[in-house]
Amino acid sequence: MNIMTEQSLENAVGDKMKSNEVIKMRGDKVGVFYGEKQALFDVDLDVRLNQVTALIGPSGCGKSTFLRCLNRMNDTIDSARVTGKITLDEEDIYDKNIDVVELRARVGMVFQKPNPFPKSIYENVAYGPRIHGLAKRKADMDQIVESSLKKAAIWNEVKDRLQEPGTGLSGGQQQRLCIARAIAVSPEVILMDEPCSALDPIATARVEELIDELRQNYTIVIVTHSMQQAARVSQRTAMFHLGYLVEEGATDKMFTTPDDKRTQDYITGRFG
């Protein structure tokens, strides 16, 4: 816990020192259609560098849909169509010249349910670097695997059994393994889709700690159903409802004095 507070302190200081408001990703009038049905309407939302942005809102409000737009995972759904503009470092990610594979290497994703591949722990982490050719020699790969597992705060638990299947780990460990897997390709942004919803409170606490540590090096967007989680881990919060972005702002403000009545109601548990 001690380390945690130090870390937070460092982050807090770091935030002040950084020019604070560098926009990493920007959504401009983003809309999503699934076939005929529109799931997302004109969302304007900025994701700031080295901050955690939490997306909250009741089920079916479009927050996961928006998240999946940010690394074009919606492309894998046949009927999905995205309108508007999303930029990463001022570059339109839906531009024809953008290679979606490259984009996903820069904008990694961690899913709701831990989904390690049915391979060894080592191979799970080495998967990304291997397909992107990040390591030339075995030693380099070992290095990447180790540092990724360390960053995901799971190294000590698995260092003696790297060759065992990743599916044999506990739920919380699996999720941290998936985070390590995402980190291993050195992404700039990590998208997390309710990463703790399948975990118990203790595992959740570990992952939340981890998220807070990770934001030094990465920009994080997290979808969550837990108000406490959003309050604990994020610096910015965006509230979605029925496919619209209701409001967005600094987390402190959102949880104390929201502008919109719906945010107020949702946060205090009156609906959703």
Binding site: D78, R104, G108, M109, F111, Y127, I131
Partner: protein
């Protein structure tokens, strides 16, 4: 009274019981007591009680009365002597029975003035379209007349008993009807028994088949040693004429087994890559529109009778390959008209839909989370398939391939036509070789004594084949099942 009429009446009684039962149960529902079962369950229970025991009785009666009739005729026939004109007692009885059946076609007038000799009777019967064996004897006529009377009596008596049981069953069920009577449970239990019986039939049949093959096989091994069967390398059964037991052939399984496995291997070499790739395309790349056209089209291949493939192989492909090879070498063809290659190729095409549809199911069963996980890391589709989906689906695919292999091994019609009948041992795929199934067909067709080793060997071959495919299926199912547990 004919059985069909009895059956119809029983069903009618059952239907009446159903309607009365339902009616009565509905009438008893006065809203005070909550009825245990809904009215139609009472109806069905009455129907089942009226019909099922009666049907059982009908079956028993039909069998029993025919046995009784046989005995009766048998007893009435004169003692057999050396100069009896008919070859056997069984033939005697069956002659009387067919005569009795013939007599039923005659009208009452003719029956009253029954001629005493068969010579006079025959034209009368022939006029009614009844043809009888000419060695029917005169003494059989009164026995046949008597037999008909007995049969009528038995039929009438049986019908009365059956109808009585049906009505009794209906009444019993109808009397039981009460708001708290558990008709639903009774009906459900009977359903369960019915379903159980249905599934037992398949198992019992399998056991029966295996046992019958087993006994014939044991008889076969009495004249040919298992060693020379399982390890013999020469197949030369020497078709023996009936009775000439001296000419013992050689029954070596090895050439047939080798041919079977060789052709199956060639077939799998064709079917597995093509089927697998088409499955990958279907599961991962095809848009729903393409999939909805291509998948049924592919599965249509599985619906083509294998004999059609066989004809295609022997009429079109075989000669084509032979001529092609002749043209390539400029004279002598190195591919024979019937060859391992041709048979394997055609069988492979036949198996493509089997592989592809099994693998398609397995690939589709790999959870979406695996795909998302890989794509989310920036892997391309083909990388995802190669490195995540196929490894994850591998056990299932291996199982599918084994299932396909056991089909290839058991396949008959294509190889009968396309592989040839020569029991060679060769490694040249362009020569003819034969399979276990082909030899089973060969040994059982033609005019052969049914207790010579030449015929009995078919059962030994069949049992070997059965054991082979059974083991493969068990292994395949084991692998597939083990794989399934992985994601649950």
């Amino acid at each position: 009274m004919s059985s069909l009429l009895v059956l119809a009446i029983v069903v009618a009684v059952g239907l009446v019981a159903f309607f009365i039962g339902r009616q009565r149960a509905a009438a008893q529902d006065n809203g005070k007591v909550k009825p245990h079962s809904r009215a139609h369950y009472h109806g069905w229970w009455a129907f089942l009680l009226a019909v099922l025991p009666a049907l059982l009785l009908l079956a028993v009666w039909a069998v029993g009365s025919s046995v009784y009739l046989d005995r009766h005729i048998h007893a009435a026939l004169p003692e057999r002597t050396v100069d009896s004109k008919v070859a056997s007692e069984a033939l005697d009885v069956s002659l009387v029975k067919s005569l009795a059946r013939g007599l039923r076609k005659l009208d009452a007038g003719t029956l009253a003035a029954m001629p005493a000799s068969f010579a006079e009777l025959q034209p009368l019967l022939a006029a009614k379209g009844v043809a009888l064996a000419s060695d029917t004897q005169d003494y059989m006529i009164p026995i046949a007349v008597e037999a008909n009377k007995v049969q009528d009596r038995l039929g009438l008596f049986g019908a009365i008993v059956i109808l009585a049981s049906s009505i009794a069953g209906a009444f019993y069920a109808l009397r039981q009807i009460a708001p708290r009577a558990r008709a639903r449970n009774n009906v459900e239990r009977l359903m369960l028994w019915g379903l159980l019986a249905a599934s037992t039939i398949a198992i019992l049949t399998t056991i029966g088949i295996v046992l019958s093959m087993l006994f014939q096989t044991i008889t076969f091994f009495e004249s040919v040693s298992p060693m020379s069967f399982f390890f013999g390398t020469v197949w030369d059964p020497r078709f023996a004429a009936a009775g000439s037991g001296g000419s013992q052939g050689q029954f070596g399984l090895i050439p047939l087994l080798a041919g079977t496995l060789y052709i199956a291997a060639v077939a799998l070499l064709v079917a597995v890559p093509v089927g697998l790739m088409s499955a990958v395309y279907m599961a991962e790349y095809a848009t729903p529109k393409v999939r909805s056209v291509v998948k049924p089209a592919l599965e249509l291949l599985a619906g083509i009778p294998t004999i059609v493939y066989g004809i295609f192989a022997v009429v079109t492909l075989g000669p084509f390959l032979r001529d092609l090879s002749a043209a390539l070498t400029g004279g002598s063809p190195f591919i024979q008209g019937q060859s391992i290659f041709t048979a394997g190729l055609v069988m492979g095409v036949m198996l493509i839909p089997v592989v592809s549809s099994l693998s398609d199911d397995i690939i589709t069963a790999v959870p979406r989370a695996m795909r998302d996980g890989s794509l989310g890391l920036g892997a391309t589709r083909s990388e995802t398939i190669k490195r995540v989906i196929l490894p994850a689906a591998l056990p299932g695919i291996v199982g599918a391939i084994l299932l396909t292999a056991s089909r290839a091994i058991g396949e008959t019609m294509i190889v009968v036509l396309a592989a040839g009948v020569a029991a060679n041992l060769t490694i040249n795929p362009f020569e003819a070789m034969t399979t276990i199934t082909v030899k089973i067909v060969n040994q059982l067709t033609g005019d052969l004594e049914f207790n010579s080793p030449q015929t009995l060997v078919a059962f030994a071959l069949g049992l070997t084949l059965f054991a082979l495919t059974l083991v493969m299926n068990i292994v395949a199912l084991y692998i597939v099942r083990k794989y399934r547990e992985q994601y649950e």
